[in-house]
């Protein structure tokens, strides 16, 4: 099911969308929808990473927030070189 959503954009931005849509052989709506989906995914992922790095949430909760599998989340943070949230103090507390 789809719903209509109205939003006001600067003319320059609309022109940019139209130019890109023409280059990609897409209609303007399809292009904006595609960019919104990709942008939302990225925003969600970045938000989850931020919360994880700040030690506000666990790695699994972060994957849930990002709406990706834990395999994918682990793979991405490993590629990005984001260190495990475990500290030396954590290890000393449990050894």
């Amino acid at each position: 099911m789809t719903k209509q959503m109205n939003l006001r954009l600067d003319e320059d931005l609309i022109e940019e969308f139209e130019e890109l849509a023409e280059n990609e052989n897409l209609d303007r709506s399809s292009l904006i929808k595609k960019i919104l989906i990709e942008g939302l995914r990225k925003e969600r992922f970045d938000f989850a990473i931020k919360k994880y790095v700040l030690k506000e949430i666990s790695i699994e909760r972060a994957a849930e927030l990002a709406k990706v599998s834990l395999h994918e989340f682990i793979s991405k943070i490993s590629q990005m070189g984001i260190p495990s949230n475990l500290t030396l103090e954590d290890f000393k507390n449990i050894i």
């Binding site: 909760r61 599998s69 954590d90």
Partner: protein, 165 residues
Amino acid sequence: MRLYVYDACALIYLTKIKAKEKLPLLGSVLVSPIVKNELIADIDRFSDAKLLKKNLDNKLIEERKVKLNSVNFAKNLGKGENETIVICIRNEGIPVTDDSQAINYALNCGLKPKTSELILLELLKQQIISYEEFQTMFEELVHIKSLKHEVILFFKNKAEEIIKK
């Protein structure tokens, strides 16, 4: 026999460093239903998920049913991590998790959590793996988890202490 209850993160890391097959030699390898689902999610894209599915099918990794209630549900943890801790509370299990938040929550619940690094030390201590195997697996873990320098030194020293005994 000791009951080790793994969360998905720890089991994925232990799979990546090829230590997973050694785990039953330490004790039972249990996972919760949600953790089981996480392990086999995205199976078409990740080879680790395929390996874990095989282990679940041949019961090397066993599923333990559990029901969560809101009383013992930590909101900063994932559902699988919460289930892991609840299973441990109810069965005197040892939670294995590679997350700081989950470790602290487990400690607050009176449990004695372990991480992948500690599992490797335990495998070494019980002579299930050699020192060379420990080094190879640990180096891989350092790389995948981007472990901090001080943590690396800490575990290298611990491993040396074990082999000197």
